[in-house]
Symmetry: C2
Subunit: 247 residues, 2 copies
Amino acid sequence: MRPSTTMLRGLPPFRDLPETLLAEIDAISDLVTVEHGQEICRQGVVPTHLYYVVEGQVTLASTAPDGTTAVVEVIHPLGDFVLASVMVRLPNLQAAHAVTRGRLVAIEAEALREIIERSPALSLALLTSLSREYRNIVRQVRDLKVRTTAQRLGCYLLALLPDPNAAEATIRLPFEKGLLAGRLGCRQENLSRAFASLRELGVETRGARVTLRDIPRLTVYAMPDYLNDPEMTELTRAGSDIEPATA
Amino acid sequence: MRPSTTMLRGLPPFRDLPETLLAEIDAISDLVTVEHGQEICRQGVVPTHLYYVVEGQVTLASTAPDGTTAVVEVIHPLGDFVLASVMVRLPNLQAAHAVTRGRLVAIEAEALREIIERSPALSLALLTSLSREYRNIVRQVRDLKVRTTAQRLGCYLLALLPDPNAAEATIRLPFEKGLLAGRLGCRQENLSRAFASLRELGVETRGARVTLRDIPRLTVYAMPDYLNDPEMTELTRAGSDIEPATA
């Protein structure tokens, strides 16, 4: 089934493209349903499609030759995956799996590249989109290099807040803790230890619900840089489920 | 001084652009000399230029709010920096410093964006270039998440080899150990410990010269994925100084 130009226009890089161009993209696109755990892309294989998540979540994970796997990113609705590999026609560095049942827009890679080559508007839109993704992953490298796991967890939680100036709030983790550990670059037992370290800073957990009792103190401890980096908050927040504190 | 269209054509993304387009880029470019340690870009400031390294090396480092600094990347000749931030007109996530005396091509950001908007060839060339850089940094995240420091060091050394199938070789580290530690995401004392761990795998160091006595054993230990990923070797090798083993 074609996604329709209306749905395509809802994807950030396509927002301002002319309707005729969207119709061309629509003609080489499919709206597909994926099931929980389904492999969407295989690591080491040249991608045949560029994907946008419409509903659900997708993990991008990279496996080392000894079988160790690391979740590099979790893609939320309106995010894309394998754009870089599509552009350079090189094998995927990561495998993509559906975390939940979901819907994706799948755009044929070869046909898309052909449109990009003659459409400066599309090329520029994707260049801008990839630039944002690039900056996002640079932040992840910085985070892995300068922060402890507990600080990374603190920053992650703070970035989910609707109002960083509030004193307290309750938030819902957008995905389960195994995935969160992978995203933060630690084992699940280290994530539990990190949550334990944050307890004395007023961080309480009940399943996926996390209550932050002393946001200013947590901020001092985790030293997030998102406060002077609005783009990051925006990106991290996508797909999160914010609840007001009711305590 | 203008870099000349000939020099611009030597930069990978510009290789196949028409001469008239290169002349336009040349008109908004400067060939600049930087001194050892000089700050080229400041973190948190919107970049005014896109840079290509022609000679020398440049570090990209990110500082956390508490002052902890991490080297995210070392840029070798023909590499660019701050492309993503130029494209989205957002503050640099990283500061750029010259490691050595060097020469850079500096292209005016605003004027470049204006050319990109009407030139599909340039836009596509930069999209391809950024895609390669994106893949490179995904590899770095994976590396930080799945490998120990000693394994990361092993992979780094193996990627400098001219012939990964050789039994032994001597290589020269392309930059000093403080920078190498930053690039590998560890403190300098951990780098020394990592070199010590690799000693029993036949890795001997004398200053910047490193001799690998048993490449097959080091390969098994470090489990590099570059062997089935030619693009990575190419990127990592840029600027390295290969010497045949003479022992």
